[in-house]
């Protein structure tokens, strides 16, 4: 997709989306706002996992960093939430940079192990420091606006989601993005052509963590109550499933995954405690049998329809 075509798709889609508050009730608007949060999370996780092949299990944790930083600053020091979200995003970027520098020299498995540990440690700190974080009770935080307005939040989340998508799109379609894919396809070949493999990975991890921090900060001020649920591994699992089911390594994949799975999970929620289990089984089957997700399935369909005779003939020959 060229830049021009990207904006040709993006602008009308956003304008259409902008009319949603006029047609949707409060509950449905809430579902859309939550979907936009997951869209940001899944797309930024995809930047890392889909385009550089590094699996981070701390993406939800970085969202938690953004949410708690901004929330604590607002509650303790009365800082304006808008500035708080910016500070939270920067802190997530900084921590992402530190973790990235620490373990990306050693390769992908080390990042996965360390981020899993990071996310567990964050959970322990949040529950232990309950005087500051209110532990599992949750931290009540002020909203972004003086007067609560769901429509206002919708436009804020929509704006943030568009910003996230543009940043990711520009990044993967720049020279740096070329390096991302080079590193994923063949690390040694990329290194031999002068690509600084470690730096490329650290950059992807830092940007992706910062975007998660921003999404988490805004989401916290929307919910008005920040709980350890935001940085939990269950949340991480949701983001991961959305990306995998939508289509890892494709740009629209996580967007489709975020919306379809958030809406699906609203339906499954009726099953109460079975909800996560059902969700997990769906994700497991999808990840096993359709590794390229819905986008991969759609692509296969298109290719088959376009050249059915040729593929069948080729298949028969071989």
């Amino acid at each position: 997709m060229t830049d021009k075509r990207f904006y040709q798709v993006l602008v009308p889609a956003v304008v259409l989306f902008g009319f949603l508050p006029f047609g949707l009730g409060s509950y449905h608007l809430h579902v859309v706002i939550v979907s936009l949060f997951y869209l940001m999370m899944a797309s930024s996780w995809n930047l890392l996992a889909g385009y550089t092949g590094q699996v981070s299990f701390a993406h939800a944790a970085f969202a938690g960093i953004g949410a708690y930083t901004s929330g604590i600053l607002a509650v303790r020091f009365g800082l304006n939430p808008w500035i708080g979200v910016v500070v939270g995003t920067m802190l997530a970027a900084l921590l992402g940079l530190a973790v990235g520098v620490l373990c990306l020299r050693m390769g992908g498995i080390y990042l996965s192990l360390t981020t899993l540990g990071f996310s567990e440690i964050l959970r322990i700190i949040i529950t232990n420091e309950y005087e500051v974080t209110r532990g599992t009770m949750g931290l009540q935080v002020p909203g972004l606006f003086a007067e609560y307005s769901k429509v206002g939040y919708f436009y804020v989340m929509l704006g943030a989601a568009v910003l996230t998508l543009i940043i990711i799109y520009r990044l993967i379609h720049s020279n740096i993005g070329l390096n991302f894919r080079a590193v994923q396809n063949d690390e040694r070949a990329a290194a031999s052509l002068g690509v600084d493999v470690v730096r490329v990975r650290v950059l992807a991890f830092t940007v992706s963590s910062a975007l998660a921090g921003m999404a988490g900060g805004l989401y916290g001020h929307y919910l008005l109550l920040i709980t350890p649920e935001i940085p939990s591994l269950d949340q991480q699992f949701l983001v991961l499933s959305m990306t995998v089911i939508g289509g890892m390594g494709s740009f629209p994949g996580p967007i489709i995954g975020a919306f379809s799975l958030e809406i699906l999970s609203e339906y499954i929620r009726a099953y109460g405690e079975y909800h996560v289990l059902v969700f997990g089984l769906i994700a497991l089957v999808a990840a096993r049998f359709a590794p390229n997700g819905l986008m991969g399935l759609a692509k296969d369909r298109l290719v088959r329809r376009r050249a059915p005779a040729k593929t069948v003939a080729a298949a028969a020959k071989s």
Binding site: A49, M106, E120, E273, G280, L284, R288
Partner: protein, 285 residues
């Protein structure tokens, strides 16, 4: 207090070593990290609770059946989930992570959030070196785990099967050229890795009851032990496990119990900063 913390550290350390050996074996041969390792540890705990506790089977038989069942489950998981991902290390991470969430929620539905525990093997306490009284159950756990580790070392260092394992983890292609069926070996070693997690589970469950989410801290510690010891190194696991067990318990005794697991993370960071290949790691890891 110091001596008691050291003793606790030894018991836990040996169990950590056992759990980490399972991870390390699979990493060495297949280059796959099983993120559901902790959930298999818990699964074995639940099995032994079911057989020995609820059904009243003899505890030794219950433990053996539990480990065997988890071994079979491991073979199944390798066959269904891991085999299609050969050559794509990241995808097996994702699949095993999803599996761990599925298992956690399945346990929650079947057994509830409450801790469950199989009956102990022995009662009473023994006076250790005239310093303090120590529960016999814990001493028995220490002995049992040491025996399993010793057995594993004999199998790997002295038997034909062990030679195949060592050859494959050194050079996969060369082993294939010499007639090793690496697909079957992968399946077996993944099962064996799960069985080691299960062994740790059945040994520790009478001391530390199992809950649906108790597997994560154990698995995380096992991962840190593997990084500390060096990916794929078996001696590294034993030494690393003991170090972590001691640090964790001394830290809990003298600094803070709430932050017990934080010490592991600090060790992980230090290893990555100072010696990323680990104590006995191969450079290229």
């Amino acid at each position: 207090m110091f001596a008691l913390a050291v003793m606790n550290g030894l018991v836990i350390g040996v169990i950590y070593a056992l759990a980490a050996l399972g991870v390390s074996l699979v990493v060495g041969i297949m280059n796959v990290v099983n993120f559901a390792h902790g959930e298999l540890y818990i699964l074995a705990g639940y099995f032994s609770y079911l057989f020995a506790g609820a059904l009243g089977v003899n505890f030794v038989a219950a433990m053996i059946v539990a480990v065997l069942l988890v071994f079979l489950f491991g073979l199944f998981v390798e066959w269904v989930l891991i085999r299609p991902t050969y050559g794509n290390d990241m995808y097996s991470l994702i699949l095993t992570f999803i599996l761990s969430i599925v298992l956690q929620n399945a346990y929650l539905l079947i057994f509830g959030p409450y801790p469950n525990k199989p009956p102990g093997w022995v009662g009473g306490a023994t006076n250790v070196f005239g310093l303090f009284y120590y529960g016999n159950q814990r001493l028995a756990a220490l002995a049992a785990a040491s025996v399993v580790i010793a057995l594993l070392f004999v199998v790997i260092k002295k038997t034909w099967f062990g030679r195949i394992i060592r050859a494959t983890s050194q050079d996969r292609e060369m082993a294939e050229l010499n007639g090793v069926n690496t697909t079957r070996l992968n399946m077996l070693s993944f099962g064996l890795g799960c069985a080691l997690a299960a062994a740790a589970g059945v040994i520790l469950a009478p001391v530390f009851p199992v809950t649906p989410t108790a597997g994560l801290p154990v698995a995380l510690t096992a991962f840190v032990v593997v990084v500390l010891g060096g990916m794929g190194s078996l001696w590294g696991c034993v030494l690393g496990g003991l170090i972590l067990g001691l640090v964790e318990n001394l830290g809990a005794a003298f600094i803070s119990t709430g932050y017990k697991h934080l010490f592991n993370f600090i060790i992980l960071i230090l290893v990555l900063l100072i010696r990323p290949a680990g104590l006995f790691g191969r450079r290229e890891a």
